[in-house]
Amino acid sequence: MAYFKDDQEVYDYIGKLFENLADDDELGPKFRKANTIVQYQYRNPESQITVKMLEGEDGQVDLGPTDLEPEVVMTMEADTAHRFWLGKINVTVALARGQMKAKGPVAKILKLVPLVKPVFPRYKAQLEESGREDLVNVT
């Protein structure tokens, strides 16, 4: 069974994390150096998060439909995204296994992977604060 029951839960947890990162004084500017717009298209449940990371502009996170034109599109199960933010996914392996698919100038996003490691405990804490320990203890 999927971890999230509907798209709203995806937005409540993963979407909220993206919003927090966009506003983060330290990480926000680093992410915006990627200078791209990336869209995460999730399955089970169907959902979509679009993140604008453009140098010199404010960050923007659209949950669901968007007017932003993505340059990079990452496709995966919402469960894979959840496990990634818990630090349980090796991106290289996920790409090799086809658990993640990447379209566009992927290097712009791969560059961010080492930066997000400190975010993993933050995601866990965010879930715990929301009373969703059930989502923390996944294999």
Binding site: V72, T75, N90, V91, T92, V93, L95, A96, R97, G98, K101, A102, K103, G104, P105, V106, A107, K108, L110, K111, V113, P114
Partner: protein
Amino acid sequence: MEAGTAGEAWAGPQMSGFKDFFQFIAPTRVVAGRGLIEGLGFEFSKEGAKRVLIVTDEVIRGTGLVDKVDAGVTDGGLEVAGVFDGVPQDSDSAAVTGAAEAAREHGADAILAVGGGSVMDTAKAANVIFTHGGEPREWEGYFGLPRDDDGLGRPQELAPLACLPTTAGTGSEVSFAAVIKDRDEHIKFQVADLPMYPRLAVLDPESTRTLPPQLAAATGMDAMTHAIEGHVSSEWNPHGSAYALQALRLIRDNLEQAVAHPEDDDARGNMLVASNLAIQPTSSGAIGIAHSLSHPCGAYYDVPHGVANAINLPWVIEFNAAGGEPIADRYREINELFGLEVGGPGDQAGHALAEHVRGVVRALGLPTRLSEVGVPEEGIPQLVEGAEGDGCTLVNPRETTAEDFAELYRKAL
């Protein structure tokens, strides 16, 4: 204290033992030997080819090799639909589109690449456009080609593709990626997916007979870099290492001979095989930051890829080997193969291998400094940005910061 030194537990990637996961893919049929060009049509027909577009460049065409290939294809009962010889030194989007259009115009149903890495990468990307349409940049990315079952099932096949490499270095004849230059945006982009594996690779020393020694040296160092990085990457695995270590034995025994004595068919043939083996670990994503450092050198300063790798590799070996004993142990396995020192602390083992590589580079007559090939010190910040964003960085065994990259470039300058 650096990770992996005495008293600190290793916290890096798993560098030995049974791995949680790895995937190894080698679907290309390889035929190697003498006199194979005459039988190209015979071999390619087994892959379903009937009307073949030959993709090459003007230099190769000028050597007369394409005429021999044409005869070999025809003798095997296939038709040569046409020849596209418009591939530039660095493959670009225009060449990819041009080759795909040529395949359509000539009514081809199969593509045969005759050339080095740029020609083969052009043919691979052109095959995607030929089969699925669109523009090259639309297919940029990993595992993005059409698949059955709403994109989750088996990838749809491309037209039959065969490769006859005319350099011994890139291994592109058995890899699933194509690196293409976008001249408008001054970047190189990658298209990579499983159907892009060529169906057939033909390794015949006749095809490298006219390879200039300088190019043989540079491409040979590219093969050495693939093999060393493939064995030591965080994505190493036993299958990839079997290929990488055998490639290094062949390089050890044949590279300098093939460069110094281009008339030696055996040495050139063995280097074709070595290059072919050395690339295989990349099917598992096993590579490293020598490539991350070298890619921007090519993109911004047109440094040939093999030359950049030859310069950067020794510095990377020293950097990685100092990152922990589990990493150094994998270099020790290479040292053993080269008859080098394996004892002592990791940085010592790394230094021994790095010095050996530097010696080979000097013996081959290649440049040993980035400043010799036009890279200026003020270019380092831009190069660092490129290296950080390179896909190879994620799979290096030692984590690499922007400052680490800057320091590596400064050392190599």
